[in-house]
Structure formats: C-alpha cells, structure tokens
C-alpha cells in the first residue's frame, strides 16, 4: 500500500541551524498521526517541506506516491494544510475566500461542498462577512475550511487549536474525527498533549530536528507506565507509610506497581481501621511520556 506520507532522509538547515536532521517517517493512509515536539523542534519546518512551502536540502517527501518537488501538482492536490498562523485576505468575504481557494485547485463548481463546510464548521451566518470582521476563532474555522475545500485525502493541522475556546475545539475535533473515520489521513501537531492522546493512534516526537520517538500511543504509554495514589488519611499502615513519595499532614502520595497494589493498600487500610477521606489515582499520560523522552535526549 502506498504511504499517505513518506519522508526519507530529510534534511533542512537555516544557516548553521539544522532544523531537520535525517528524518525518516511513514504515515499510512487513514492514520490519525501526531507530530509532537517543543518549540523549535522542526515540526513546522517538516510540514512546510511537505506542503512545498520550504525546500529540503536533502532527502525526499512523497504524498500518496507523488514527490512534492517533481510531482508537485498531484502532491499538492492530495494535501490540505491548516497553517499555524491566523492569516487571511482582508479584501474578501468567507464565501469568496473559499471559492478562490477551491478555484486555485482547479475546482470551480464546488458550491455544494463549500456549503457543507460552512454548515459543518458553523460558519453559515458569517458566509458573507468580510474576513476582517471575524473573531479569531471564526478565522481559525475558515482556515480549516480552506484546507478542506479541495477534499484532500491527507490533512495536516499545524496547532489548529492554539488560542481557541473549548466549544470550537470540540466542534473542530468532532469534524476532524468524522473526516478521519471517512478515510482521510490526519497529521496533527499540537502542544495540547491531552488532545494528541485522545485523538492520535501513532506519535512521532521531534527534538532539535530529529525523531526521538516513534510509536503507537499504547506502546508509548507502556514505556513509562506508572500508577500513583494521592490520598488523605491521618496515618497509614507502616509498610505503606514507608513507601510514600510525598507526605504532608494528612496528604500522602504513594507510587503503585499496578491495580493489585491498590487493592492491597485498601485492604490494609480497612484491616487497620485507617479512615481514607479522599483518594485519587493518576496514571502515566502522554505528557509524562513526552517529558521523560525529551529529558532523555
């Protein structure tokens, strides 16, 4: 099967700064793929090379088998990009903006899909409003609609929810999920790791232009799987009190090996008549994994 995105030996420098360093990556059709990394890791540069906005010094990138340089026309038709910056053309309305974007891809009769996008992204009321008059959230929705106006099978979202309110975030993710279920490949960069954890099936982590982790979400979480209990009790049975990683007053934090450990803790508390007034469990999440991996590299 042809990869949705295939990146081989990609290198890109800006002066002495190596923004991308021997990046190899494949994203399969239909994946919801996360591209994570701290600021300056090379995520936007990678997306720019993918989209033809930047040129690689070495290596190749193909979108569904089409090279982004030699076969740029086909490659760009297969790709929709939501840019990170909130950019817009102040001369035009939302509907004009979408019609133009469709036309640039050679699709002039696209009213039905444009209307569907306006409805799905809750832009119908603003369709004939000038772009300048829209709020930041509305402009972000238009950017998403512009990226999808030519029905690309591969969609790249570069931090699409930065500075966006909760309601729009939910609407946006519901819509993107629907597209993914319908077969679109989605590549997402975000600093909201809980979003990435909830949405992405596979993750690549970049640091200083290199891929430092590439795995499925469950396997990444398994790498540093840990459980801890935060509880409130006046005292704990001695063997548990000795294991506490933190203790202040009646608040205790206990690292647990697994849920069996939790069961033993609760049994010991019950047998020793220790009253628990609060109990909260915390499992390893993507943020923990991300921080551990970034520290290690």
């Amino acid at each position: 099967m042809t990869a949705a995105v295939a990146i081989r030996g990609l290198e890109k420098s800006f002066g002495t700064l190596k923004a991308l360093n021997s990046v190899d990556l494949e994203v399969q059709p239909g994946e919801f793929f996360g591209l994570l990394g701290p600021n300056g890791a090379g995520k936007t540069t990678l997306i720019s090379v993918l989209a033809g906005l930047a040129r690689a010094d070495r290596g190749s990138v193909t979108i569904l088998g089409h090279d982004v340089v030699s076969g740029f026309r086909d490659a760009r038709r297969k790709l929709g990009v939501v840019p990170q910056e909130l950019v817009f053309d102040p001369f035009f309305t939302v509907r004009e903006t979408l019609r133009f974007q469709s036309g640039y891809f050679g699709i002039t009769k696209n009213s039905a899909w444009i209307e569907e996008l306006l409805v799905s992204l809750d832009l119908v009321d603003k369709a004939d409003t000038n772009m300048r008059a829209l709020s930041g959230g509305m402009k972000r929705r238009v950017l998403v609609a512009q990226a999808l106006v030519h029905k690309p099978p591969v969609i790249v979202l570069d931090e699409p929810t930065a500075g966006v309110d909760v309601e729009l975030r939910q609407t946006l993710w519901a819509f993107i999920r629907k597209l993914n279920v319908a077969g679109h490949t989605v590549i997402l960069t975000t600093h909201y790791l809980e979003e990435a954890q909830a949405l992405c099936g596979r993750i690549a982590m970049l640091k200083q232009g290199r891929i430092v982790a590439l795995d499925t979400m469950p396997r990444l979480l398994d790498r540093f799987r840990a459980l801890s209990a935060h509880l409130r009790a006046p005292a704990l049975p001695e063997q548990w009190a000795n294991q506490a990683s933190a203790h202040r007053g009646d608040t205790w934090t206990l690292p647990l090996k697994d849920y069996g450990d939790l069961e033993r803790l609760l049994t010991d508390c019950r047998l020793s008549n220790t009253p628990l007034t609060d109990l909260r469990l915390e499992a390893t999440d993507l943020e923990d994994v991300f921080l551990r991996i970034m520290e290690a590299h």
């Binding site: 033809g52 906005l53 040129r55 760009r76 001369f91 133009f100």
Partner: protein, 253 residues
C-alpha cells in the same frame, strides 16, 4: 476543472476593483491635476515636434501612458508585498499553481488595472485636448505590453521586498525616475546632451514615445525601434521573473 490561474487572475482583478476609489479614481485625479498645472504653466512656452502638435495635446498621451505604467507596477507589487507581509500568500503557495500560472495571473491583472486607469485618464483629459489617434493599434500595443513590463517589474519588486519601505525605495528610486525622465512632459530633443543620452537608455522612454506615435504619427524615435526595445525588455524581465518564481526566491524558503 480549469487551471487555477484563472481564479488567481479573477481574485487579483477583484482585489483592485473592490478598492477602485484608491486604485483607479485617485490616479486619474492625479493625472488630471498634472495636466491642469503643466498645461497652464508651460502650455504657451513649450514647442514640441516643431510646433506640429500643441503642448497640451502632447502632454495627454504622456500622462495616460505614465498612469498606465505606474499603476501596472503598483498592482502586482502591492498585492504581492501585502500577501507576503500579512502571510496570506500561503493560500497561493499551497495549491498546485505553476510559476507560469502565478506569473500570468499577476501580470494580466496589472495590465488590466493599468489599462483601466489609462482609459480613465484619457477620458477625463478629452475636454482639455482631444488628440487624434493616428494608429490605434500602436496605442493598444504600447499600452498593453508596457503595462505588462511594469507588471513584471512590480512582481520582481514584490518578490524581492520584505517590507513596505523596501518596496517604496524601489518605487521612488527606480520607477518614478524612469517614468518622469522618459519624456512624459517634454520631447527628449529639448534636453541637454547628457540627459538626452541618458533618456535613450531608459526603456520607459521608448514606451511613452511609441505610445505617443500612435496618437500623432510623429515621435522622437522610430516606433519600430520602440517596439523592439519594449519586446526585448519584456523578454528579459519575463525570463527573470519566471526564474525567480521557479527558484521560489524569497517566497519558498
């Protein structure tokens, strides 16, 4: 499916049409003021083409062509620099538009604005002097190709400039001197030898002179020479602009 360049052309046309007060009407008024001032001050003192043509009539084609050229340059350069600075150029760089399509859309839109302004200037100056058109084909040829050349120069300036003052420098230190020192307001035969020689290496002089030939059937140099210079300039600038677009110079990093 049609080529995306037709949409880009339409967008560029609509862009200047939406602000036509500023892009068409304002330059027409400026040209009219030039005509009123120069014709009033110099009208009785300047002899052109050995007195065969009145100065006000002589001035009209010069002002029309100057407006055509300056506005053709302004259209492509301002559109591109605005898109670059506001970041919305990304919407044109992401679609599958080839360099030639990008070039064609921007240059044709520049030609359209140049001709629209030129027509406006011609119409408002008619009551003051109505020069006959001895060769309308020459008028159309020089106006269209001249606007195309300045549209290309505008594209080059827009590609090169990274901020508005760089574009303003290009406009003030290159375009303005080229158009003002091209015989818009005088025949170059009235110039001292140094300035006469300098004018002869100014391609804009040939555009104005050839355009004026279309009105009066008289010019400072042969219209064939002017046409040759114009076509040569358009080939050189066209090749250079396309090369910059192919390389993605200052557009794709």
């Amino acid at each position: 499916m049609v080529g995306g360049w037709t949409t880009l052309l339409y967008k560029e046309l609509l862009r200047f049409w939406k602000v036509s007060f500023q892009t068409i009407l304002a330059p027409v008024v400026s040209a009219l003021l030039f005509l009123l001032i120069f014709a009033h001050v110099l009208g009785d003192n300047v002899r052109v083409y050995e007195g065969r043509v009145g100065y006000t009539a002589f001035l009209v084609p010069g002002l029309v062509m100057m407006s055509v050229l300056q506005n053709a340059f302004a259209n492509s350069s301002s559109s591109l620099i605005q898109s670059k600075i506001t970041g919305n150029l990304v919407f044109i760089l992401l679609p599958p538009l080839a360099p030639l399509e990008f070039f064609g859309a921007y240059v044709l839109a520049s030609v359209a604005r140049g001709l629209a302004v030129g027509l406006g200037v011609y119409l408002v100056t008619l009551p003051f002097a109505a020069p006959q058109m001895a060769g309308p084909a020459w008028v159309l040829f020089f106006a269209t190709v001249g606007a195309g050349v300045l549209g290309m120069l505008g594209l080059i300036a827009g590609i090169w400039a990274e901020k508005f003052d760089q574009l303003a420098a290009f406009q003030n230190f290159l375009i303005l001197p080229l158009t003002f020192l091209s015989g818009v307001f005088y025949s170059i035969h009235s110039l001292p030898p140094f300035w006469f020689s300098l004018s002869q290496v100014n391609p804009v002089f040939y555009m104005i002179d050839g355009f004026r030939y279309g009105f009066f059937g008289v010019s400072d140099v042969s219209p064939l020479l002017s046409a040759g210079v114009l076509l040569g300039t358009s080939l050189v600038l066209g090749g250079l602009t396309l090369q910059l677009l192919r390389r993605g110079y200052k557009l794709r990093y």
